[in-house]
């Protein structure tokens, strides 16, 4: 990459705009009545024929330790010398200015220091303009690259979207439509629109409707899952207050858990930072976990939702920049603990599998589709987090969600 700040040797032309030096020299001559010139490095200093005793003074023009040229003052006539007056009066060059050597030296030093400031400001302007150009080029290059990446990902998203809506549309239509008809006809039967039913027939039709409803909600969950897969790349990130979110979810579900005679509490730890994540997905995670806990906790039990902050253990971090990265590398933990039926050790690894419920009978006893936890797992992983479970059979289960405070900091 071009480095506008170090780089090649400077020349006078880089530092002073064209004609600038000539102008400075002219104004100096007008003020002090003596010629001054700046001769760039590499050019020879002309020596016109001068009257005897006439003098020049020179000084190096240097910047940042580099000699860039020579400053020449004169010619002048040292004022202690005797000058032979021209007798003819009108012939010959105009008389040279007269001044004492120390005066000439002082003038030269003054001009040199003025020049130093001029060169410094010139250098500053020179660097600023080169930085300006290089920065714009960098920005342009960056924009072009980002544009290309965006266009590509837009194409990908469009393709995904097309596939997704095809699939979802098909599934939705092919499964739901006939099912809805089945349910509709069952309902008509139950209402006696096709003639009165006896006791047993009513019971059978009831079972058809119940199972049909279950199938319908199963289909909705499957659709949710496939939607998740399709949308995995599309996360809508904002600053989320996890504590407030959990309180909101618990309050929204209040009717449900009060009816079941449960006690649900939220505990928010000290110093929990806001998390940059997808609000809706996280809300769905918490609400699925809460539904799950409520479902498997018998009347009179408690569910506790605890929010806290954790720093991952040191071996998980790279030592480069640790002092800066580690403090920001925090996790927010949401733990949902219930006093429900619990899950046996050997079954715990499988609770996040789709369609898994510990034994078939629990689906019958507790309802639901067995998809809630697998949805939780996919959602939280799409946010860069993890979910785990610990449980003792008969005592209760705790589901833990860990979420990075900053998404994708690595």
């Amino acid at each position: 990459m071009d480095d506008p700040s170090l780089g090649q040797k400077l020349t006078l032309d880089d530092l002073v705009p064209e004609g600038g030096l000539v102008e400075i020299c002219r104004s100096f001559r007008d003020l002090f009545g003596v010629e001054v010139r700046v001769v760039p490095r590499g050019q020879t200093i002309e020596q016109p024929r001068l009257p005897p005793r006439a003098a020049y003074r020179t000084a190096e023009v240097s910047y940042d330790g580099e000699v860039l040229g020579t400053l020449v003052l004169g010619p002048y006539m040292p004022s202690d010398s005797v000058v032979s007056l021209s007798l003819t009066g009108d012939a010959g060059p105009p008389p040279l200015p007269r001044m004492k050597d120390p005066t000439a030296e002082r003038l030269l030093r003054h001009l040199a220091s003025v020049l130093d400031v001029v060169l410094w400001s010139g250098h500053r302007a020179f660097l600023a303009s080169r930085m300006q150009i290089s920065s714009s080029q960098e920005l342009h290059r960056e924009l072009v690259a980002k544009n290309r990446a965006l266009t590509e990902s837009l194409e990908r998203v469009k393709e995904l979207d097309r596939l997704k809506s095809n699939f979802l549309g098909t599934v939705s239509h092919e499964l739901r439509t006939p099912l809805t008809s089945i349910l509709g006809y069952a309902e008509m039967l139950a209402e006696g629109l096709a003639g009165a039913l006896n006791e047993e027939q009513i019971e059978f039709v009831g079972t058809i409707r119940e199972k049909g409803q279950h199938l319908l909600s199963l289909i909705s969950s499957v659709l949710d899952l496939s939607k998740l897969d399709a949308e995995a790349a599309l996360v809508d990130v904002s600053e989320v207050d996890v504590g407030a979110l959990c309180e909101g979810v618990v309050t929204a579900a209040m009717a449900g858990w009060q009816k079941r005679g449960l006690d649900v509490k939220v505990a928010i730890g000290q110093g929990v930072p806001k998390v940059r994540t997808d609000l809706e997905r996280l809300r769905k995670v918490v609400s699925n976990l809460l539904d799950n806990a409520i479902k498997f906790t018998p009347t009179g039990g408690t569910v506790q939702v605890a929010v806290g902050v954790k720093t991952p253990p040191p071996e998980m971090q790279s030592p480069v920049g640790l002092a800066l990265l580690a403090p920001a590398d925090q996790l927010v933990e949401i733990a949902v603990a219930d006093t429900g039926i619990g899950i046996a050790q050997e079954n715990q690894p499988r609770v996040f599998d789709a369609f898994y419920q510990v034994d078939g009978s629990s689906t019958r006893q507790y309802g639901g589709t067995g998809l809630g936890l697998s949805i939780v797992k996919r959602l939280i992983e799409s946010l860069g987090g993890r979910v785990s479970v610990s449980s003792t059979l008969g005592t209760g289960s705790t589901f833990r969600v860990e979420l990075p405070v900053e998404p994708g900091s690595e």
């Binding site: 990459m1 071009d2 480095d3 506008p4 700040s5 170090l6 940042d64 330790g65 410094w120 250098h123 500053r124 660097l127 600023a128 930085m131 300006q132 290089s134 920065s135 960098e138 920005l139 960056e142 040191p314 030592p319 480069v320 920049g321 640790l322 002092a323 800066l324 990265l325 580690a326 403090p327 920001a328 590398d329 405070v405 900053e406 900091s409």
Partner: protein, 224 residues
């Protein structure tokens, strides 16, 4: 690094990096005050009217060692504001060492971390790797309330790889320590890769001694 063996001249580029308003420019201003005018050029700042660095600050330092080595140090700051990342990348090119100036305030934790990630990425785009770059970290603004505790910084320093300094840049505290620490680390690294010690006939210790003698250090804390 630029080397001119004929002239026995060595130019080293050191970059002060870090999030917006962490005190990078203040560090350079203080160094400017500490170093004798013979060795120190003008401090050039390219900033906006509200003192936010726009392109960079540049402080050139130079001196001759006893062995006749003409050393030039070019100290740069980058603009910390997030939007200037392209400029930071330019300033970072050909850097020999980096001082990362972090803001100690707890509220700045994330900004420090993302600026470090930005540094790593900009180095990478310059073909440089953070793993091999001499880097020191300064936790600045120790005088403010709501800062990470000394104990916590000690702990982080012990677990991490980079030397960590504490500073109150506005008072000059810790500024020279950071600068000297970075220079020594950078010299050691350049020496290791380019064998500068034998080419210029100067050991790391002699180099540092030479450098400190050219700094006008007044008082133990380095106050002006």
């Amino acid at each position: 690094m630029q080397v001119d063996f004929a002239q026995r001249e060595l130019t080293i580029k050191l970059v002060y990096y870090g999030p917006a308003l962490s005190g990078k420019t203040t560090n350079l201003q203080q160094i400017h005050g500490f170093v004798s005018p013979v060795s120190c050029g003008r401090l050039m700042t390219l900033d906006t009217r509200d003192d936010r660095t726009l392109f960079f600050d540049l402080l050139p330092l130079q001196f001759r060692s006893d062995t006749g080595l003409h050393l030039r140090l070019k100290l740069f700051t980058v603009p910390g504001q997030v939007m200037h990342t392209a400029t930071r990348r330019l300033v970072l090119s050909n850097a020999d060492g980096v001082a990362f100036i972090a803001d100690s305030q707890l509220s700045e934790t994330r900004n420090n971390a993302s600026s470090f990630v930005d540094l790593r990425e900009n180095l990478r785009q310059n073909g440089l790797a953070i793993e091999t770059m001499p880097v020191v970290v300064q936790f600045n603004k120790r005088d403010l309330a709501g800062v990470r505790s000394d104990a916590e910084i000690d702990d982080l320093a012990a677990r991490g790889r980079e030397p960590v300094y504490r500073a109150i840049a506005t008072q000059g505290v810790g500024v020279l320590e950071t600068f000297l620490g970075l220079t020594e680390l950078t010299w050691t690294s350049l020496d290791h890769h380019h064998d500068l010690g034998s080419k210029f006939g100067i050991s790391a210790a002699a180099f540092m001694l030479s450098l400190t003698r050219h700094l006008r250090v007044l008082g133990d804390g380095g106050h002006r």
